[in-house]
């Protein structure tokens, strides 16, 4: 029983992490029609920032670091969007290829800067003690991580559904030309959304650090998970990313625990089933 409960919690925390990663990917895709293959690298960059900062400056706590890494990665993303992606507005394939190129550059730069050994990210001290609930023992940090993901989901929902900025973004998603025609600065929205998505990925990288630690190849491990989540949930749908993240979180965690060698195959079964019967994903809109 303890096994199932602990693995269940691990699934939830991985799901939360995946949501932080894939929500940004999904937002960017929804508005910009851009499959941002740098997303895994942004996540990894965040993890490295966090790992190095927490190792070298003992006064920092993980939340401040996550915020800082988020801002740093968002700034980098913004630069990349302004300097490179805007030049390729009429060339969607070119955009995907430069994001791929960028991901190679970032992951290789991480290797140069921080070496090939993995750098652990310490669990915050006040969250190291396990929590006892209903007679079971839970690692506190993972519980908190699930909470953070849920808060982030609510915040994103409010942002998209209740604010003026969100309304403009939704207008841009629905009909870019019409949004431009009524005076919405769509290309500035592109930059904002790209920064936001990159920033969330960077912050998620720090928060995922204590579970994953920073190592070369982390980007290549995370990107397919994000892809599978958004293909499953429906590309461009926040709610889809939320549901997809937890589905994949469960499947991956239990798959790894029960059938370690086949975890990867099990992972892509739900994707195949969904694509076969609902190509637009669980919560995606047809034609999107």
């Amino acid at each position: 029983m303890q096994f199932w409960i602990i693995q269940g919690l691990n699934s939830l925390s991985l799901g939360g992490l995946l949501f932080l990663l894939s929500s940004g990917f999904s937002l960017i895709f929804g508005l910009m029609r851009l499959a941002n293959l740098t997303h895994g690298a942004f996540f990894m960059l965040g993890t490295y920032f966090g790992a190095v900062a927490l190792r070298d400056y003992s006064g920092l706590n993980i939340w401040v670091t996550a915020l800082g890494a988020g801002i740093a990665v968002a700034a980098l993303g913004g630069l990349f969007e302004r300097l490179v992606l805007t030049r390729l507005k009429t060339n969607p394939l070119g955009q995907v290829l430069v994001t791929l190129g960028m991901s190679f550059i970032i992951s290789d730069a991480c290797l140069v800067l921080w070496g090939g050994d993995s750098i652990p990210v310490p669990t915050p001290q006040n969250l190291q003690a396990p929590t006892r609930l209903f007679g079971f023992v839970f690692p506190t940090y993972r519980l908190v991580l699930v909470g953070v993901a849920v808060i982030a989901a609510i915040a994103l929902y409010v942002l998209m559904d209740r604010t003026r900025l969100g309304a403009m973004i939704r207008a841009g998603v629905d009909d870019r030309q019409m949004a431009r025609a009524v005076g919405i600065p769509v290309s500035r929205l592109f930059t904002i959304v790209f920064c936001l998505g990159a920033g969330i990925a960077g912050a998620a990288g720090v928060l995922g650090g204590p579970i994953l630690s920073a190592y070369p190849g982390l980007d290549a491990d995370m990107l397919p998970l994000a892809l599978i989540v958004v293909i499953l949930g429906g590309i461009g749908s926040l709610f889809g990313a939320f549901v997809g993240s937890f589905i994949i979180g469960f499947i991956y965690t239990f798959g790894t625990a029960l059938f370690p060698e086949l975890a990867y195959v099990i992972l892509f079964l739900p994707m195949i089933v969904v694509i076969a019967f609902r190509p637009q994903g669980l919560f995606g809109r047809a034609g999107a």
């Binding site: 070119g94 290829l97 190129g101 190679f104 290789d108 491990d221 397919p224 293909i231 195959v265 992972l267």
Partner: protein, 311 residues
């Protein structure tokens, strides 16, 4: 004019074993393998309008199958090659069923996800694939009793296969089926209205491209006598895609030129710097930003411009 170019290319291809040392002959063999691989990807990207980021799957799976069958299960090279290619075709058919539910970016993401799953499998199923250590100590086949262990003999073998592959793919794209493929790329709805089945045309092309990717994979594993999960990685798919785009997607010879350039760059760069991935990323940015239609169309435009000028 045209036959002079053809003769020059033929001479350039026939020359290496007579004039060059082993190092350069081997380099030429690698270029031929990369060229077959890029040409097969170009069927999808250039002629079919299906940008796949998972083409390394076919190279890697054919290579792994052949390696496993010959080294571990005692198959001969002939039957192993046959089974590997058949296996690759079946896999391509299956992957095509999944990936072709989507088009455009969805297709790209699904092919990428599928190939990453295979890459992860190659790493993790270490009792079969030997994981990160890869499978070493493989042998080259000896067709008709001719050993391929010398650099020159392997070059002739690769050249024959590459020439055959080139002719077969050229026939494929210039056939009426190729025309319908280009039609589906440009105007899928009109083609459907004309009674063609766009899905079927794409699927057949997908399988055909997977088949030649598998052939490239066999040559790859014969050449290296070693196979490692990186052959299945995104980097491997991306290198081929860069070759296709740098050379000019949708042209027949372009991807071969592009693949040769990428390979040469990789070889020369790795002699001086260790940072191949970073360089690859930078080249990606450069090609996409500066010559998005590729080098060969760029050159054609340039020569047309020169000819067009009154001398």
């Amino acid at each position: 004019m045209k036959w002079i170019g053809t003769a020059l290319i033929a001479a350039a291809l026939l020359l290496p074993p007579f004039v060059a040392g082993d190092f350069y002959i081997n380099l030429a063999s690698q270029i031929l393998i990369a060229a077959i691989f890029a040409l097969s990807l170009n069927l999808l990207v250039g002629f079919g309008g299906m940008t796949s980021l998972g083409h390394a799957s076919y190279l890697g799976v054919a290579a792994y199958l052949s390696a496993l069958l010959t080294s571990r299960y005692g198959f001969g090279h002939g039957s192993a090659a046959l089974i590997s290619i058949l296996g690759t075709i079946v896999m391509a058919a299956f992957f095509g069923l999944i990936a072709l539910r989507a088009t455009g970016l969805g297709f790209l993401m699904i092919t990428l996800a599928l190939s990453q799953v295979l890459w992860g499998l190659a790493y993790r199923m270490s009792n079969i694939t030997n994981g990160d250590n890869g499978l070493a100590g493989l042998t080259r086949p000896s067709p008709f009793g001719i050993s391929l262990d010398s650099a020159a003999s392997f070059y002739w073998f690769a050249l024959i296969v590459a020439a055959f592959a080139f002719v077969m793919m050229a026939i494929f794209v210039s056939s009426s089926f190729g025309s319908s493929l280009k039609g589906v790329r440009d105007q899928p709805r009109r083609m459907a209205a004309l009674g063609f089945n766009p899905w079927m045309i794409r699927w057949i092309t997908f399988i055909y491209a997977g088949f030649w990717g598998g052939v490239a994979g066999l040559l790859y594993v014969y050449y290296n006598k070693y196979i490692h999960p990186t052959s299945l990685s995104t980097t491997s798919s991306a290198e081929a895609l860069l070759g296709v785009i740098a050379g000019g997607s949708g042209t027949l010879g372009g991807p071969a030129v592009g693949a040769a350039l990428v390979l040469l760059l990789k070889n020369y760069a790795s002699a001086y710097v260790e940072r191949w991935n970073m360089l690859l990323g930078l080249v990606f940015l450069f090609i996409v930003l500066v010559m998005p239609t590729g080098i060969v169309p760029g050159m054609q435009k340039l020569t047309a411009w020169f000819r067009g000028r009154p001398s």
